[in-house]
Amino acid sequence: MSVPLRPPRRLIEITVDGEAMRVPEGDTLLDACQTAGKDIPTLCYGDTLSPKNACRVCVVEVEGARTLAPACSRKAEPGMVVKTDSDRARHSRKVVLELLGSSVDLSTTPNAKEWMAEYGADPARFGEDAATVAEPPKVDNDLYVRDYAKCILCYKCVDACGEQWQNSFAISVAGRGFDATISTEFDAPLTDSACVFCGNCVEVCPTGALSFKNEFDMREAGTWDEDRQTQTTTICSYCGVGCNLTLHVQDNTIVKVTSPHDNPVTHGNLCIKGRFGFQHVQNVASDG
């Protein structure tokens, strides 16, 4: 795959966990930490979106700063001394994971369990009466399901639907504070909204709150098994753009279609045809 060339950037010196390193100017602390091999948890950070830094699970300590800094969006500055694993940073990550775990269903969030264990987070400590965002899944179309009981309000779907990718603006954040939800205007069904069913919101959802109907049904039925799935990247045959499709196949059936985020054509985005129009591949006539 071609790697787009970028103009060379000046290197600046920073210190991460006691080790001096040089990073290109304009890089974020998260970029720097990843280069240094540090494992920083992220939820609302999206590799194809501009950082919203809403979840605060990636906070690191910057020497001299009053508050912790979100690694995903804070740019490295010359001379910065960053601690990724200080007690303060670990404490905030732990509490953030507890706050999320106690209010949101993280059962389908990749890595959530491992992070909880690593930081010693105990979401149950807030008691059984702790308020949650639980609500029944919204199933109002045949293509994807919105299960907002799993929503951490990271804004990624809104950004993907809006000006960062699709420019459909079908959804936004409604309400305020703990009662805020992702919603269409007047909570109208998606089929009545500006949604074009590209599924690009599902692509960026970090918790499984948005999932393809197919996957949702299989999970309900208990037949969804990622260990039995293979992924094959191919090219969409619908038009001449040449988007890459990654076909997720289980038991010789396509169960999900995604697109590689580093693909220079799609950046992970597809249209309704590439994303959902695969059934014809596996419609086998009954008489052979």
Partner: protein, 623 residues
């Protein structure tokens, strides 16, 4: 932009309300009646409309003011007019508590249940209202602080119509009537320093009978109750606009130097040096520069800016003009909270009078400097007082704080260099120019210069706004206000984001450095006095409820942390638990360290100080 709408139509009234703000639509393509021409040619809304996303908030106000709520038809019509996706407009409309997207009565009574009112029996008033008018949401609703703390417990009725009407009530009593019109006391009633000391005060000056001598150091309040707030002539006769003339003599850099040398720091709560902010903004090469006056005074217990705007509106207009001149701005936005109808009216009058007399607009005072002011009305969101949330609110987005850096001086309103100042901060500036930086800096202490307005409320003999030079002690201030009624238990300094001090700590000097050294804060100047009849756990619960309500919901520590804080306080008010105290501390620390903005970062301050200094919920508490 390709917009998609459902089949909701605006009523004629909703349409008229929007058209009154935006003018008539140009074609069916932006919401007008369909003509034959529209069927043959596809056009878009005129570019002026498409570039005016910032008119979304005023348009929502227009409908809400006329009808009392925002229907889907009205929202869609606004979206067609301004080319805004309906989902986004809905997200903005549902952000503000003064708007409703569900039908409700035209007249809604907002009953303040916040700290100062709660200390004076607001809970009983609220229960009484609920008994008489039914559950909240239709004809009444509980409200965060209305900034009417000297009249606590207070209420505000907002009645939609053409024109909309307001009525202010206070002090309210159980069983009282709620007439549609009320006679509001004059603004000087909130400033005890300007009126004869009442007979109720223990330190009433005997024998004088008339006005007590006005303290010489009354600077910011000197015109309150003395001038007619509607009269520019009164304002000029009492020294008004000498500051601006002096500014023109000094030139923009000279003004900034004076402000720097005066030592003026921001009065909104953060205490940032104003001169340094101006210096940094003025030298930005990117143009245009904007000025934003933050009049979204919403910290519970704060009402100083309301008193300034109601009693001396021209002073703010002059101050903004000077700030605009110094910072190279041609346009200033005055963002005033939606709960201040009288201040809004007086500022609108002041702006139009100033404009008609050549003190705003092109070529002010023949100096070749052009500057104008646009008023933007908030719609019930404490967070919009945050310096970057205010930009989003003005621009027509949800009032969510932005990430800093970049700071407003670089990228602020509309992405341009912006200087944001609080009302009280700005109103200091004409005085600095009149008296000179050195004379100004001689008042107060070396690092807190000038005088400060304090909002004294709660169980105190004469609640109101007091102006004292920095350095006076809390005891001096309470004496000035006639002392606490009953047995003084604690004082909340700085509002919901502030800290409690004990009755034996009244010698704390009221300066930024003094309160900081004492582990408290001046914040916005709130001095909420609580006697032993006020249940402290109830006060803490109200503070927690306030932050839970007012959190914008953007970041997890604040959105969920404020909920968990409130839940833990509920449990603690029923039974003591070490576990819940640890939980409060841990959540509090994460909110302070990891929240995006000051709201979340300070949401645990007052609760922490109540536990640590007052011994609430701990064994030390004597109850």
């Amino acid at each position: 932009m390709d917009l998609r709408f459902r089949d909701a139509e605006p009523t004629a009234e909703e349409r008229a309300a929007v058209d009154a703000l935006l003018g008539a639509p140009s074609s069916a393509w932006d919401g007008g009646d369909r003509t034959e021409f529209d069927l043959r040619f596809a056009t878009q809304a005129p570019r002026v409309a498409r570039d005016r996303r910032d008119l979304l908030l005023p348009a929502l106000h227009a409908v809400n003011d006329r009808v009392g709520w925002i229907s889907e038809g009205a929202l869609d019509y606004i979206c067609r007019r301004l080319t805004i996706p309906p989902a986004e407009a809905y997200s903005v409309a549902t952000f503000y508590s003064l708007f409703s997207v569900k039908p409700r009565q035209a007249r809604v009574l907002h009953v303040c249940t916040d700290l100062a009112c709660a200390a004076k029996g607001a809970d009983a008033v609220r229960r009484d209202v609920e008994e008489r008018f039914g559950p909240p949401g239709v004809s009444w609703q509980p409200s965060p602080c209305l900034g009417l703390c000297e009249r606590a417990p207070a209420a505000l009725a907002i009645e939609a119509g053409d024109p909309p009407a307001n009525a202010v009530y206070g002090p309210c009593a159980v069983g009282q009537e709620w007439p549609t019109t009320t006679e509001e006391p004059p603004v000087e009633a909130a400033v005890p320093q300007t009126r004869p000391r009442g007979q109720t005060g223990p330190d009433a000056v005997p024998g004088e009978g008339g006005r007590s001598p006005r303290p010489d150091d009354l600077v910011l309040l000197r015109r309150i109750g003395v001038v007619d707030p509607l009269s520019l002539d009164d304002y000029r006769a009492t020294g008004g606009y000498t500051g601006l003339r002096r500014a023109f003599e000094l030139g923009p850099n000279g003004v900034i130097r004076e402000v720097l040398e005066s030592g003026l720091v921001g009065r909104g709560g953060a205490a940032f040096p104003t001169g340094r902010k101006w210096e940094a903004t003025a030298r930005q090469l990117d143009r245009p520069h904007y000025l934003v006056c933050n009049a979204d005074e919403s910290e519970p217990g704060t009402f100083k800016d309301r008193v300034l705007m109601e009693g001396d509106p021209f002073a703010l207009i002059e101050a903004m003009t000077i700030a605009g001149y110094a910072n190279g701005c041609a346009l200033g936005y005055l963002y005033i909270r939606g709960e201040y109808p009288r201040a809004l009216k007086r500022l609108e009058n002041a702006i139009s009078v100033a404009r008609s007399r050549g003190l705003l607009g092109d070529d002010i005072l023949g100096q070749g400097f052009s500057f104008d002011i646009e008023i933007r009305r908030g719609a019930g969101a404490y967070i919009c007082g945050e310096e970057t949330a205010i930009f989003n609110s003005i621009e027509g987005f949800r009032g969510e704080p932005r990430t800093k850096p970049p700071f407003p001086v670089e990228k602020g309103l509309f992405g341009k260099p912006t200087v944001v100042n609080n009302v009280e901060t700005l109103v200091n500036v004409p005085h600095i120019l009149e008296m000179g930086a050195a004379a100004y800096a001689a008042v107060g202490t070396s690092s807190s210069t000038g005088t400060k307005l304090f909002c004294v409320s709660g169980t105190v003999d004469r609640p109101g706004i007091y102006e004292v030079p920095f350095g006076a002690s809390l005891r001096d201030l309470l004496d000035l206000a006639g002392g606490a009624t009953g047995e003084l238990r604690a004082v909340l300094l700085g509002g919901a984001a502030g800290a409690f001090v004990r009755a034996d700590e009244l010698d704390i000097p009221l300066t930024f450095e003094g309160t900081r050294a004492a582990g408290a804060t001046l914040g916005s100047g709130v001095v909420l006095v609580l006697n032993d009849t006020v249940e402290l756990p109830g006060v803490l619960l109200r503070i927690a409820e306030f932050f839970r309500d007012e959190s914008c919901g953007q970041c997890v520590p604040c959105r969920v942390g404020t909920v968990r804080q409130e839940e833990a306080l509920h449990r603690l008010s029923k039974r003591r638990s070490e576990g819940d105290l640890v939980l409060l501390r841990e959540v509090g620390q994460a909110m302070r360290d990891a929240s995006i903005c000051g709201l979340g970062q300070t949401a645990w301050n007052a609760v922490e100080s109540a536990i640590d200094r007052l011994g609430v919920f701990t064994a030390k508490e004597s109850s």
